[in-house]
Symmetry: C2
Subunit: 389 residues, 2 copies
Amino acid sequence: MTISKGPQAFPRTEYLRRLAALKSEMEKREIEALVVNNASNITYLTGYTARSGYVPQAIVVSISQEEPTFILRRQDAPAAIHQAFMHRDKVIGYPEHLIGNPEKDGFDTVIDFLNELGIAGRGLGLELGYLSAQAGEKFKSRLPKARIVDCTKVVPWIRIIKSDLEIGVMREAAAIADAGIARAAEVIRPGIREADAIGEIARTLANGANGKPGTSLASMFLCSSPRTGTPHIPWSEDDFRDGSQINLELGGVRYGYVSAIMRTFSIGAPSDRLRRLHEAEIAGLEAALNTVRPGATCSDVANAFSRTIEKQGFKKDSRCGYAIGIDWGEPSASLRDGDMTELKPNMTFHLMLGNWIDEDFGYVVSETFRVADTGVEVLTKSPRKLFEL
Amino acid sequence: MTISKGPQAFPRTEYLRRLAALKSEMEKREIEALVVNNASNITYLTGYTARSGYVPQAIVVSISQEEPTFILRRQDAPAAIHQAFMHRDKVIGYPEHLIGNPEKDGFDTVIDFLNELGIAGRGLGLELGYLSAQAGEKFKSRLPKARIVDCTKVVPWIRIIKSDLEIGVMREAAAIADAGIARAAEVIRPGIREADAIGEIARTLANGANGKPGTSLASMFLCSSPRTGTPHIPWSEDDFRDGSQINLELGGVRYGYVSAIMRTFSIGAPSDRLRRLHEAEIAGLEAALNTVRPGATCSDVANAFSRTIEKQGFKKDSRCGYAIGIDWGEPSASLRDGDMTELKPNMTFHLMLGNWIDEDFGYVVSETFRVADTGVEVLTKSPRKLFEL
């Protein structure tokens, strides 16, 4: 009748360490309770990876309680009991009549819980960048005596430095991403449908690598001529053709953690322009990686890339990458000119050098890396080449 | 240098019809301009399906302009020019320095555009259920003279009635979903890893059916013993085992439109309890479908199901389904007791009879259906059986 704890990706001590770091930030802000509704932040603090966040749910971290309380839809509560590190009495399922109900929803249950906790007159942290405007209004109107503090970025700035255990998981995810690139190089051929190549790559990402299966499928982007100037368009219904270029972005996933990679493929000989851009970007990639060490800044890494490709006559408008971890991009540091975030050991980034130069022409290459004690560890290992098929 | 229009899923007339329905709702609310930031609503009104909505983007529908204006990140603008039905001068790319920038973001560009449009003193519709609380505050503070009207549900209530063209696409998606179920019945076997079965199913959903590939991969849920009491947990790293039950939920996708289906699988003979529940649910499913006709209500359909399974000693806490279309569930009508939405021809629903009875025991079955002129058309066609493998 009751569900047992499932296999845990991390030991309890790992979650308590993360929560201790969070409570320290809460104390600085004089916050008694923090409502975390961002799904990736919930994964970070509890281990929960089920996809129930399309309806209201949140964990409440109280400064005076060791474990957070997870309030979610009743039908998803068994998943929380099974996956999250907390004791089962820290999981509260709200009733089904709050789903699709215009009068009341699951955030009313969260607010009831905060009232029981005695939040009136005290500091309450909310993630106002992730709560909807409607939900934000509800918290304000139903908790008029709480002092609300926007904590949208608090958990992401803790997430940016990984533990060695998290790095281990991201290495596994990176090996899966590499397997996806290797499979793409096998299946992208003239006359094959793009959708069928995607099917093979998706299968590979689920199969995983080194005996470790993918635990989820992240979004994949396969942008072929004439769509190489745009990063996020879906694959087409066409066959691959002789002379086509294909920009591929994918990620391997382990326990919610993603390691991402991009590579460019050419069916037949690439154009001179594509080859020159590739060479400039690879030189820029290496210059950027050579800059990575504790004490350097995100800006240093981006500028090493930019200086290198500018010498070869290219420039890139978009940032050179971002912190990566649970559910892909983390909303904290960016690898961009002017981001003075200091690199620290075990920060992880997607060095994302996709360069969409014209509406109909772009090139992609990227690596997922970790800041090591004295330099850089590149987690993704695929050949840094323009794949000619 | 410029990108061409890609193949369009629907003719221009289809989008103008949708926009005319929306403008009629805007007139009722005395709204001059509507900012649509929900990604599925953007797909509905433009045809755009690229996955760029993790950064700010929105279309602005002006009562006085035939075509909406799409404001999005500059690097994603070529995808909008390629996919959306509008003329290219209706696509505005905002600069890359607004990404990951704590001071200003893409919604500032939207607000600048509204100011140029002359929104001061007039009605402005926002989707406050989809805008973050931070973004909602920005609109209010930067447009203090606009009369803001929450329009979160306006587009979804138009989406609920499909055109025949949309129904055609959902039939294609349903055939893909059926192919996924058929493949699952082939690959779920003792000793096979769950992840490898997922890989095969994902490949099938990308391959598609009847020569029509999947245009995206929707979330998939494979919940095996002891996790059959929860709907949204990811697959495990284990092999399937003799005696295990597997609840599977998946969707086929065409141009963003999803047709969804659930089926339950048993490796070896099912328990008596599972078999009795299956029989009750199939009887309830048929009773519910027999109720569907124009003029009946959502409540009627749900109650036909509930009455039937109650006679056999079961009940279901959660709603019996919801409107379905772009990106799966639509936030409008629910198949639940008390939802008095009147069924109309070409409404589409996911009759979702997943029944998570205990923490460690549940059963799933579902169909995607359309309200026909005189009854029901069930789009998914998989055998309505408890698959014994």
